[in-house]
Amino acid sequence: MKISDYLKKEFCIMDLKATNKEAAIREIACLLSDRGKVKDKERFIQDILERESLGSTGIGHKIAIPHSRTDVIDGFAIGFGRSRAGIDFKALDDDKVNLIFLMGADPQELNLYLRLLAELSKLLMENAFRRELLSVSTAEEVVEVIKKFEGAGATIK
């Protein structure tokens, strides 16, 4: 299973309107809900914020991965949002966040969820991957960049 199996162009926001963490989470969650991926939008947002209360998912390098296991999602869902100005996520490096991946999974899908999170974290550790996500113009290109790096043999260590 790969991130690109789940992250489609319809689930990407190239220019978030939100200017704070909760609003950004809400904006991406609303998109996933509008696309039929979430059974209860408010519960989903609440579950994500509850996880955030344990510690910020702003992991540095301008990235945040808010996530939660939640029974308001069937299987697995992921949305992407990019903020030009950056959002204060109380990230580990205190820098603003520009790239946000919002993820939720059915509590039964433990292994799938762990592997997809681990896969995304591996991709995001690559400078070139982050750079390309920051520079692309369209949602189609976001998906193409992800596919390109998922298939990149050059990253084998």
Binding site: R51, I59, L92, A118, S121, E150, G151, G153, I156
Partner: protein, 159 residues
Amino acid sequence: MAIQTIAVSISGSNASLITAKYAIYLAKQLQAKLSAIYVVDEKSLHELLKSRIFVEIEAVEYEHDLKNQGKTSLERIVKMAESKGVNCEPLLLEGVIHEEVVNKTKELAADLLVIGDLKEVLSAREVFYDEGERIFRESPCPVVVVKNPLEVERLYKVL
């Protein structure tokens, strides 16, 4: 060479029930011993903690839930096997999935390892990282990759 011992690797997903059913079918037909292996994916947990996507309390909770899922899945498969007159040894392990499965298969001196269908591989990277691929490549014995769930269900039903 008679096939006396069969190992099956399961993940706790619904798809891995199909894998288990085929392993039970083979064990019954070949009158072989069956061992079902579930590995708690500590590698992913460790990576997520290291990259700070998980906080400590979250990782502990996931580990606990993975163990419970493994236990429940194994119990279910043991019961399924029993219902077909097959003895199945449940093995709940922790660590890096492919390493644990391969090592346990060696330790059991299994004649056959049954695994679920492999995903489509896009790159050399995936061959290196995908646990299923690595089990397939590093197994010490012949590997059966289970496909065609409908046919497996049919075989299991008439067993």
